[in-house]
């Protein structure tokens, strides 16, 4: 009997260890659970809302499971005859109950899911009392394995880094020059695909200044791991000053230079005082095959990415 008691006490510690493990992870400050803008905040709220339902389900099932295993194991001391009913095979009432409850849970999860689905397709609304700002339009174009960010209003373009003003919605217009990729800045919100011949829209916004990690999250070949960028979120004045500086100091993006950059491979950060949008519209039917037609032979070569990784140019 004593040994059994001991074992039960150890079993009791299992949930405790889970809690310790979870709280330990909490200290890691996971990006998605630490939103830095209204879009990631909406998604965070939805995740947390769903999370509590899921915890509820897990607790109910685990409790029932543990009860059945302990009470109805064959060699439990003190089993009685009434603990065994081999022909018990249904109970309409309880079956209806456990069919209806999941339906209710699905309904309760569907409502905020649908409203958030719709909310994500619009610029985030300003908080009460703040003025409505027009979204800043940035064309985010991928090519194997780099990012082009074109600011048509400001007439500037950056490669592999991004500057955005805080407290203003950003309207990303996503497309790709070749393979399918996805723009993901987890601190600011979820991802969407960049596809050649298509244009998708993604609204994000930063509420806090800072430098955030952005990347292509959709596997697209050998250089995938290197297709990352930093997002510099800064106050409006600072952002405008940066635009000013780029416009006056950076070189223009010539068609030759852009063609050079489109070649499959990795490049460093670059800055230009004009955009590629005037030469090529990768989202159109005319231009969607441009890179593939131009560089068909280059796609046959391998990068041997480890060598590049060691130079830490893209860390």
């Amino acid at each position: 009997m004593k040994a059994k008691h001991l074992r039960n006490r150890w079993l009791g510690l299992l949930p405790l260890s889970l809690i310790i493990f979870l709280s330990g992870c909490g200290q890691l400050e996971m990006t998605i659970l630490d939103p830095k803008g209204p879009v990631s905040q909406m998604q965070y709220d939805l995740i947390v809302y769903a999370f509590w339902f899921m915890i509820g389900i897990i607790v109910v099932v685990f409790a029932l499971f543990a009860y059945m295993l302990i009470k109805y194991r064959e060699n439990r001391p003190g089993r009685k005859d009434k603990d065994y009913d081999p022909n018990l095979h249904g109970n309409t009432m309880i079956e209806i109950v456990w069919t209806v409850i999941p339906f209710i849970i699905v309904a309760l999860l569907s409502i905020p899911t649908v409203t958030t689905n719709y909310a994500l397709e619009k610029p985030p609304e300003p908080e009460a009392g703040e003025e409505v700002k027009e979204p800043l339009v940035i064309h985010a174009t991928t090519a194997d394995w780099k990012w082009f960010f074109s600011y048509p209003e400001q007439d500037i373009e950056t490669v592999n880094y991004l500057h955005i003003p805080t407290d203003r919605p950003i309207e990303f217009r996503l497309t790709s020059a070749d393979s399918m990729s996805a723009l993901w800045i987890p601190a600011l919100g979820g991802q969407k695909y960049n596809m050649a011949g298509m244009r998708t829209k993604l609204y994000l916004q930063a509420d806090e200044e800072g430098i955030y990690d952005g990347r292509n999250s959709n596997f697209n070949g050998e250089g995938f791991a290197a297709q990352t960028f930093k997002v510099h979120a800064e106050g409006e004045d600072e952002f405008n000053a940066w635009v000013e500086e780029v416009s006056s100091e950076a070189p223009e993006l010539t068609r030759e230079r852009y063609n050079e950059l489109l070649k499959p491979g990795l490049t460093d950060k670059e800055t230009f005082s004009s955009t590629h949008l005037e030469y090529l519209q990768h989202h159109t039917n005319e231009d969607m095959g441009y890179v593939v037609e131009q560089y068909r032979d280059l796609f046959k070569e391998k990068l041997h990415l480890y060598e590049i990784e060691k130079q830490e140019t893209w860390k």
Binding site: C25, L28, M30, T31, I32, L46, I47, F51, M54, V61, F65, M68, L69, Y72, R73, Y84, P86, H89, G90, I94, E95, W98, I105, V106, L109, S110, T113, V114, T116, N117, Y118, L120, E121, M180, A182, W184, P186, G189, G190, Q191, Y193, M195, A196, G197, M198, D213, S217, F219, G221, E222, F224, A225, G289, V291, V292, F299, L303, L305, Y306, E309
Partner: protein, 647 residues
Amino acid sequence: MHITDILVTGEPIIYGAMVSMVLVGIALLFLLTYFKKWGWLWREWLTTVDHKKIGVMYILSALLMLFRGGVDAMMMRVQLAFPDLGFLNSQHYNEIFTTHGTIMIIFMAMPFLIGLMNIIVPLQIGARDFAFPYLNALSFWSFFFGMALFNISFVIGGAPDAGWTSYTPLSGAAMSPGPGQNFYLMGLQLSGIGTLATGINLMVTILKMRAPGMKLFHMPIFTWSTLVTSFIIVFAFPILTVALALLTLDRIFGSQFFTLTGEGMPMMWANLFWMWGHPEVYIVILPAFGIFSEVIATFAKKRLFGYNVMVWSMIVIALLSFLVWVHHFFTMGAGAFVNSIFSISTMLIAVPTGVKIFNWLATLYKSKIEFTVPMMWSLAFIPSFILGGVTGVMLGMAAADYQFHNSYFLIAHFHYVLIAGTVFACFAGLTFWYPKMFGHKMNERIGKWAFWLFFFGFHVCFFPQYFLGLDGMPRRLFITNVAEWLPLNVISTVGAFGMGLGFMVFVYNVYYSFRYSERETTGDSWNGNGRTLEWATTTPVPYYNFATVPYVDEIDPYLRMKEEGKTTYEESELKPIHMPSYTAQPILFMALLGLASFGLVFEWMYVAIFGLIGGVIMMIVRSFDYDDGYYVPVDEIKRTEKKARGL
């Protein structure tokens, strides 16, 4: 073309693999010759149409593939836990995760389950073989040559590297030149023929060949799950066949269905792939549910709770499985309305699945749970699968999925459902029906070691990956290049090796049990707790399965048979049994199609045409084949049964 253009060169790991493959091959040839087993191999196995032997071959192949896919997984885990070692470069890693995914789904999970169905379903319904035994052999050999073709890619020609989803335009000829992607297309196409044929075969077998009196709602639940699965196969696999064919035309013959040039539509691939791919998920999970239901009822020594509801929930899941494919690419920008529809349909699947979970729990209520190894796998499934299920619902919420998609949260989710569901079921089912197949049980003590190692390894491996996903780590990343992600990756790798160890102990148990396990003397191997007809036959099962087929008019018919002292050998009712003849046609036919596929992979058209013409000739040969099988005389049945029953 020179030989060095075909062989993959320059990778020490691959040289190692080549050498070990050659050595194993030589060893096998030597053993077969030394023990004079060539004739035995040909007569008893390669030309067989016996559903039980074909099932065993399926399972052996699947275990081999579990090993190969597992080694791929270990290599990935080593790379991610020790990024500074320089163990794998990006290209090699990409090849490995592609083959890992493809092999585990197409060449491990499905054939493992189809192997169990092969052996058990005819026994459960009182049939003497499949409806089309020749076609069944054909199915196996199409799978086998498809598997072989896919697997040689890493030493000859280069492995595919565009992910198991093979998304266009990346997997098209422009961005993935060379034979690698062709191996994927032809390997899947060839084995897909077999899967589709098996679907039809099982469907007809179950609908037409049940024991007298057995209505659909008298069938054992594993047979039900097989029937539902075969319907999914028959409706889903043609979509894959068409998609693969279109992409093959693109890559080899220069058409432009999924290309960026010529106004192709690369996104169409994602749609076609997942219109097959999502039902495919249920093809590998419903039979698993069936296995758990059988095992739990047997070792709870109690009738399955809510049999009718269990059946209907499987049917509802099967229908819904065709209506959710868009949830694999919510982020493609289809808009809020489309995403909302597919969010809701996705979450609805949780309802019938939840009902099944509660039914299993209710089966345990007022039962007598005996903790045998198959029961432990089945019980462990319930809490583990719940963790995968609830995160699946979270992934189904489109707005939240924007953050989860392509991340390790997704990876953790589908490993939780596929391992806790399908893999646990494969182990449970194999251990459960092992005595039926081989005439002895697997050792329980070693089996428990394998279970606990695998079970803990599994949770340690995949639970941390949820948190990696929440921290923004994307899938298919070849290097852990963010310092915060490293600790959890190391933990995950430790777990993966736990699973690997568990698998090795399992395989050792096969050897140990072969040497030392007690041989079965009765057909009802688990202490007389068998409930369905497969336990009513003797062990080992005679090649004609049932000397006399019992009349069945209830669920769990063997329980009553035991009470009434009935067996599947009623001497007064014996009649000669009609059995199909063994034939070498299926293996030859599929070898020729395998050759054609190999030719297409390298775009050697003469080889492809030669193989295809050979295939057509084999069809003509079959059309003029008047072998209707043979009759087993009553005397021989008597002799066999008396020996097996010790009368």
